[in-house]
C-alpha cells in the first residue's frame, strides 16, 4: 500500500537532482550557507536595477510556486493563478491606504485570496480535469472587468497605488535594498513551507491524486479534499505574491490580473519545471528575464522571440529547465561509473499515464542507461515498486 507513495518522492525531489545532493551532508550545508550569504550580501553591491529585477523574480517565483503546487504536483490545470495575485495586490493596496498594520495587511492578503480560492475550489474540484481549467480561466476573464467596475475598492481602470516599502532611516538602506530584503524573507519562507508541504504527507497525497484518483481513493486519500487543499494553498501563495507585487511595484491596476499574464505564469511554471520547487524559482526568473532580454535585443521582435524561446526550451527539455543537469548528465555521464547517482537519472513517470504507457516508459528507462549493472538493478528495483502500484 505504501509503495506508490514512497516511490513518488524519488521522482519529484528537485534537490536530489543537483550534484551537491549526491555529496555528503556537510557539503550540502556549506553550499546552503554560501547561497544564503550571497543572497544576503548581493543587494548591497548590486545596482538598483539588478535589485529590482531580483525583487520581481522573487514576486513571480512565489506565484509560480503556488501554481506548481496545484498543477505540477496535483495535476489540476489552473489558468487563473494571476487572479489571486491581483486579489492579493488589491487587498494590500486597500489595507495600506486605510493605514492598517502591514503585518495584518499581509495576513489579510493571503487569507482573502485563500478564502476565495477555497470557495472556487469547493465547486471546481468536483469537476474533472478540463472543467477545472474552464472554471479557472473565468477568474481573470471576469476579474478584469470586475476590477474596473468596483471603483471604490480598486480605483477602477486608473488603478491604485500605495507606498509602504520605503526603507526606514535606522536601516541605512536604499529603498530597492529594503524591498529586496522584505521579498527575500517572504519568498524564502514561502519556498521552505512549500518544500516541506510537498515532501510530507500532503505532498504524497498530491502525487497520488495526480497519478490516479481511483488509486488515491482506494488508499483513503480523498481526491476531492486533496484537490481543494492544493487549490487553496496555491491561492494563498498567489495572495502572498500579490502582496509582494505591491511591495515591489507599489501600484496595481486591472491589467495586473489579465488573462495573458496568467498564461505566461503557466508557461513559466512548465519552463521552470512542473512538480519541482527549484523549478518554480527558475520559472519566476524566466517570467521576468526573458521579456527583459527579448526587449533588449529588439522590441519589435519581443513576442515572436518569446514564443520561439518557449518552444525551443520545451523541445530540448520537455520537463523544464530544472531537468537540464539531469539531461546533461545522461548525455555526458553515460560511461562514467557513478554509483551515487543511479536512481536520479530515471525520468519522472509521465503523469496521467496509463499502465501501458508506464510499461513502455520502463523500457525506455532500461534503454537509456545500458550496460551498467548496478544502475540497472536499482532501476529494476524502483520500477518493480511502481508496478505493484
Amino acid at each position: 500500500m505504501r509503495n506508490p507513495l514512497s516511490a513518488k518522492p524519488l521522482s519529484v525531489e528537485p534537490q536530489s537532482v543537483k550534484p551537491v545532493a549526491t555529496g555528503n551532508r556537510t557539503v550540502r550545508i556549506v553550499v546552503l550557507v554560501l547561497v544564503a550569504v550571497v543572497l544576503l550580501l548581493a543587494p548591497l553591491n548590486l545596482p538598483p536595477f539588478a535589485n529590482q529585477t531580483l525583487v520581481r523574480i522573487g514576486v513571480y517565483a512565489v506565484a509560480v510556486l503556488g501554481l506548481n503546487i496545484v498543477m505540477g504536483y496535483t495535476g489540476q490545470v489552473n489558468l487563473g493563478q494571476i487572479f489571486f495575485v491581483g486579489l492579493g495586490a488589491y487587498v494590500t493596496a486597500y489595507g495600506v491606504k486605510q493605514g492598517w498594520n502591514i503585518l495584518l495587511v499581509f495576513v489579510l492578503a493571503c487569507l482573502i485570496a485563500g478564502v476565495v480560492g477555497l470557495l472556487v475550489a469547493l465547486a471546481a474540484a468536483r469537476l474533472g480535469g478540463l472543467a477545472i481549467a474552464m472554471v479557472t480561466i473565468a477568474l481573470p476573464i471576469v476579474g478584469v472587468p470586475l476590477a474596473k467596475r468596483l471603483e471604490g475598492f480598486t480605483g477602477g481602470s486608473q488603478g491604485i497605488s500605495a507606498r509602504f516599502t520605503d526603507a526606514p532611516d535606522w536601516s541605512g538602506l536604499y529603498n530597492d535594498q529594503w524591498q529586496y530584503y522584505i521579498i527575500l524573507l517572504v519568498t524564502a519562507a514561502g519556498f521552505l513551507l512549500a518544500r516541506n508541504l510537498v515532501r510530507g504527507k500532503y505532498g504524497r497525497a498530491f502525487g497520488v491524486v495526480k497519478e490516479n484518483e481511483a488509486v488515491a481513493a482506494s488508499m483513503g486519500v480523498s481526491p476531492y479534499r486533496t484537490k481543494v487543499l492544493a487549490f487553496t494553498v496555491a491561492s494563498i501563495f498567489g495572495g502572498a505574491s500579490g502582496f509582494l507585487y505591491l511591495a515591489a511595484v507599489q501600484y496595481t491596476s486591472p491589467e495586473t490580473l489579465s488573462f495573458g499574464h496568467s498564461i505566461s505564469l503557466l508557461a513559466a511554471m512548465v519552463i521552470g519545471g512542473a512538480g519541482s520547487i527549484a523549478g518554480s524559482l527558475i520559472g519566476g526568473a524566466y517570467y521576468v528575464l526573458v521579456p527583459l532580454l527579448t526587449n533588449a535585443v529588439d522590441p519589435g521582435l519581443t513576442t515572436v522571440s518569446q514564443g520561439a524561446i518557449l518552444l525551443i526550451v520545451l523541445f530540448l527539455l520537455p520537463e523544464g529547465l530544472v531537468s537540464l543537469p539531469r539531461v546533461l548528465r545522461r548525455i555526458t555521464g553515460r560511461n562514467r561509473d557513478r554509483p551515487g547517482a543511479p536512481q536520479r537519472t530515471v525520468p519522472a513517470p509521465a503523469p496521467g499515464a496509463g499502465s501501458e504507457k508506464q510499461a513502455d516508459q520502463h523500457q525506455t528507462e532500461h534503454q537509456a542507461i545500458p550496460d551498467q549493472t548496478d544502475q540497472q538493478q536499482t532501476i529494476q528495483h524502483q520500477t518493480g515498486r511502481q508496478d505493484q502500484a
Binding site: 498543477m71 505540477g72 495535476g75 490545470v77 465547486a123 468536483r126 469537476l127 474533472g128 478540463l130 472543467a131 481549467a133 474552464m134 472554471v135 480561466i137 473565468a138 476573464i141 471576469v142 472587468p145 470586475l146 474596473k148 467596475r149 490516479n212 481511483a214 488509486v215 482506494s218 488573462f259 498564461i263 503557466l266 508557461a267 512548465v270 519552463i271 512542473a274 519589435g300 521582435l301 519581443t302 513576442t303 515572436v304 522571440s305 518569446q306 514564443g307 520561439a308 518557449l310 518552444l311 520545451l314 523541445f315 520537455p318 520537463e319 509521465a350 503523469p351 496521467g352 501501458e356 504507457k357
Partner: protein, 293 residues
C-alpha cells in the same frame, strides 16, 4: 420586439464564430486529447493571409479559399513537426506548447503586418433586410448560414465517408487503429488540418467586423472554450448549440440587464458554466466518461 430579434440574430452570428472555433477545438481534442490554445492564433493568421492575397489583386472569394487551403496545410504541419513530439507526454507541457505556438504566431503576424488594425473586405453585402419589423443585417444571417452549412458538411464527412470513419477510429483508439493498418500519424495531421481550416473560415468571417489585429480572436477563443465545456468535449453539435446560446444570451443580457452591461457580459457564459457544470459535470450534451482503474 424589433430590437429583440435584431439582438438574437446578431447573437447567433457572433455565436457562429465561437461555434466554428469551438468545433475546431473539439476536432483537435478528439484526435489528440489536447486543448489547442493556438486555434485562434492560426485563424487570425489565415485572415492575414487572405488579406495579403486580396492586396495582391486576387478576388476575395479566391483569396479566402486559398487561405483556407493554406491553413489546412499549416495545421497539418504544426501537428507533425511541433505537437507530435509532445502528444504522448505530460498534457500540461503539450498545452503550454500550444500557448508557445500562439505567442509565436502572434509575434510573426506583428512583425509582418504590425499591430495596427487593417480593414478586411466583407464577403457578404452590408445591407439589411426587414424580418417581422426588425432590421437584420445580411452579414449576420449569412455568417450563421455559412456555419450551419459547414457543420452539416463536417457531420457528413465524419459519418458518411471512409476518411471520417478512419478519423473517428484514430480518435477512439490510436493503438487499435495502428494495428488495423490505419496511417495514424497522417490522420492526426488531417484532423489538425481540418481544425485549422475551420478556424480559418471563422477568421475570414469575423475579420470585416472586428478588423484585423494580431489579437483579434483572443476573446472569441475564450468564448469558444466556454462553449466547448458547456456543450461537452465529445459533442460537436452540443458545442455549436452552446456557442449560439452564449452569443445570444450575452447580447440579450448586455442590453436588458443594466447592472451587467457591456463590460461584464463576458461573465455571463462563465456563470452559466459554473451552474451547469455543478449540475451536469459532463456538459449539456456530453457523454459521461467512465474510467476503468
Amino acid at each position: 420586439m424589433g430590437t429583440f430579434i435584431q439582438l438574437v440574430v446578431d447573437g447567433l452570428s457572433t455565436g457562429s464564430i465561437y461555434a466554428a472555433l469551438a468545433l475546431a477545438i473539439v476536432l483537435v481534442n478528439q484526435a489528440t486529447g489536447l486543448i489547442n490554445f493556438a486555434q485562434g492564433g492560426l485563424a487570425v493568421l489565415s485572415g492575414y493571409v487572405a488579406y495579403a492575397f486580396v492586396q495582391a489583386g486576387l478576388p476575395l472569394v479566391v483569396a479566402i479559399i486559398l487561405a483556407v487551403a493554406l491553413s489546412f496545410v499549416l495545421g497539418a504541419l504544426a501537428e507533425r513537426f511541433l505537437v507530435r513530439r509532445f502528444e504522448r507526454g505530460d498534457p500540461d507541457t503539450a498545452v503550454v506548447v500550444t500557448i508557445g505556438l500562439l505567442t509565436l504566431i502572434t509575434g510573426i503576424i506583428a512583425v509582418i503586418w504590425s499591430y495596427n488594425n487593417l480593414g478586411f473586405p466583407s464577403l457578404f453585402p452590408l445591407t439589411s433586410v426587414d424580418i417581422l419589423g426588425a432590421v437584420v443585417s445580411v452579414r449576420s444571417l449569412a455568417t450563421t448560414v455559412t456555419i450551419v452549412v459547414i457543420m452539416v458538411v463536417l457531420q457528413l464527412l465524419f459519418l458518411r465517408t471512409k476518411l471520417g470513419l478512419a478519423l473517428r477510429a484514430v480518435a477512439d483508439s490510436p493503438a487499435s487503429s495502428a494495428l488495423s493498418g490505419l496511417p495514424v500519424g497522417r490522420l492526426l495531421m488531417v484532423g489538425w488540418g481540418l481544425a485549422a481550416a475551420l478556424g480559418a473560415v471563422a477568421g475570414v468571417l469575423v475579420a470585416p467586423q472586428l478588423t484585423l489585429t494580431p489579437g483579434m480572436l483572443d476573446t472569441a477563443l475564450v468564448y469558444a472554450l466556454a462553449a466547448v465545456i458547456l456543450g461537452g468535449l465529445s459533442s460537436p453539435i452540443g458545442c455549436v448549440v452552446a456557442a449560439w446560446a452564449i452569443g445570444v444570451l450575452e447580447n440579450l443580457v448586455a442590453v436588458y440587464v443594466p447592472f451587467i452591461g457591456h463590460d461584464l457580459k463576458i461573465a455571463v457564459p462563465f456563470a452559466l458554466i459554473f451552474v451547469i457544470l455543478i449540475l451536469r459535470p459532463q456538459g449539456l450534451f456530453g457523454r459521461k466518461v467512465v474510467v476503468r482503474v
